[in-house]
Symmetry: C2
Amino acid sequence: MKKLNPLLHQELRLSIISFLANVEWVEFNKLLEATSASKGNLSVQLKKLETADYIEIEKSFKNNYPLTRCRMTELGRDELESYIQTLKSMLDI
Amino acid sequence: MKKLNPLLHQELRLSIISFLANVEWVEFNKLLEATSASKGNLSVQLKKLETADYIEIEKSFKNNYPLTRCRMTELGRDELESYIQTLKSMLDI
DNA sequence: ATATTTGGTTTATTCTGTAAACTAGTTTAT
DNA sequence: ATAAACTAGTTTACAGAATAAACCAAATAT
């Protein structure tokens, strides 16, 4: 049986990725709201996804405040697809 | 968004439960083979599932050797179903 | 007798997840 | 002008979880 990608098999990271799957660039605060994570946890998990090149993180400023946005990469999209396939076959759904 | 049951959202335990979903009593060695886990890890995770009453563990002897068998409880079945529903809605599948 | 195998369990270590604490700056009120 | 409060995150310390190595008790093989 194929193994579940451990980077995706974690609730917050899976929430992030599946949220990003349906949109383009998303702001940090939007993800905060969508996932109801704490800022610290969100920051840590985003960095892990970035390190793996599953997402891209872009930092800029908006109204003088720092602004962090992210979006999924092609690799991220592929890995999510593959993760879903593995799950489906495991769970027979 | 509903939270994923953390007891089920772990690869080995999910493998165990989804394997048990399709059969009745299963022997320890059968699970070992089906999941390719180590014996130690399998033993620990089975006990966690038992503690939560997701599975039942029955110990006996067969050919003079100790024999451990398990099967899913109704609670286990319900929780798996609920976990799958949550996943589906998260992943939009 | 003693070595090996079976069928596990315990435990020690490592890895992960998380929230609290912190950084760095901005806005607002006084 | 200064202090207080707020924005937008990041770092890190701790707790809990996962895992494999070491262990155990009994059976069988040599």
